[in-house]
Point group: C2
Chain length 193, copies 2
């Protein structure tokens, strides 16, 4: 985040009454859970059930499956971007690596979700912008410090890392090892470790 104060207001019709607000939040939490568990095709009735609300309430808040997707997604992105704050104190390389690790954790759960939104979504675009404004400074700083190669852009890194994470790893150790390899690829050709 860092720069833009709030997420895009494009669809932020938050309910006003206390109970409505509560249901709204419960629905997002339930949806996150259900999507993570059953993929993007999870039943909306199941989501409502998990949230402890009627199906009608779900549809009032999120007229479309996609609306729900987007709400969940935005929430995630916001958390991720928020985590970029405070990293500026670390050395350039470490800061970048730390953030990318969080990024990995973020993408890991969002596979199915991203799949849906990749295609044509205004929300996705603006979330992407937010992620960039959170991560790109870290990247540029590392490049300026000469610890990351100069012939690639931040978007290359995002794809490298996020793609990597979409594969399922049997153990966290292996995931970190592979992530390490990818990170080595980011270093300038001759820099010693």
């Amino acid at each position: 985040m860092t720069s833009a104060g709030q997420a895009p207001e494009v669809f932020a019709q938050r309910p006003k009454r206390a109970d409505a607000r509560r249901n709204y939040d419960a629905l997002i939490a339930a949806a996150r859970e259900a999507f993570a568990e059953n993929g993007a095709a999870a039943s909306l009735e199941d989501v409502a059930r998990r949230a402890g609300v009627g199906i009608g309430t779900l549809y009032r808040n999120f007229p479309t499956r996609r609306h729900l997707f987007e709400a969940v997604y935005v929430e995630e992105v916001r958390a991720l971007c928020h985590s970029a704050e405070g990293l500026a104190e670390l050395p350039p390389w470490d800061a970048l690596v730390a953030w990318l690790h969080r990024f990995v954790a973020y993408v890991a759960t969002k596979r199915a979700l991203a799949e849906q939104l990749l295609h044509d979504s205004e929300i996705f675009t603006s979330c992407r912008a937010e992620i960039f404004s959170a991560g790109e400074p870290l990247m540029r700083r590392a490049q300026d410090a000469g610890v990351v190669r100069n012939d690639i852009g931040f978007d290359d890194v995002v794809r490298l890392i996020s793609g990597l994470t979409m594969a399922q790893f049997p153990s966290p150790q292996q995931r970190d090892r592979v992530l390490g390899v990818a990170l080595d690829g980011l270093r300038p050709p001759a820099t010693p470790r």
Copy 2:
């Protein structure tokens, strides 16, 4: 492939009569198409329609959605492994890179399919074994030649590359650039290009 003559016979109950055989092949082709287009949740009735056969015929050949998945998947893997032949003549690094490029093209279309099979499939396991027996020698040769770092295994490479490919790229150029970064990560720490 190289070593194992045929794919695992686990499920290869190919029909015998001429028309049956024809339908079987048409179904696999139609399924590949439908899955690529609509994801793994494509309607089986649609598959049958594309293949120009009745829904009953589909179910006779593939009692389960998963059976169909697996048949399509095995076909793909076989083609991929076959492509590893003839690469042994190239220099170690080039051979590995060339095969990985094909691997990328293979994974790109199989996203949804792999997603389904990842979890618990005997077929998947044996296909995995076949892929390994096709690619691992290339990798080891490159390591022996000192052009690939020694602290990682072939499975690390597979995950790095396949994951990478699961991300969607706006242009082939970017995909290749990112792939290049990943490949650089494979090189031993100080080797000049």
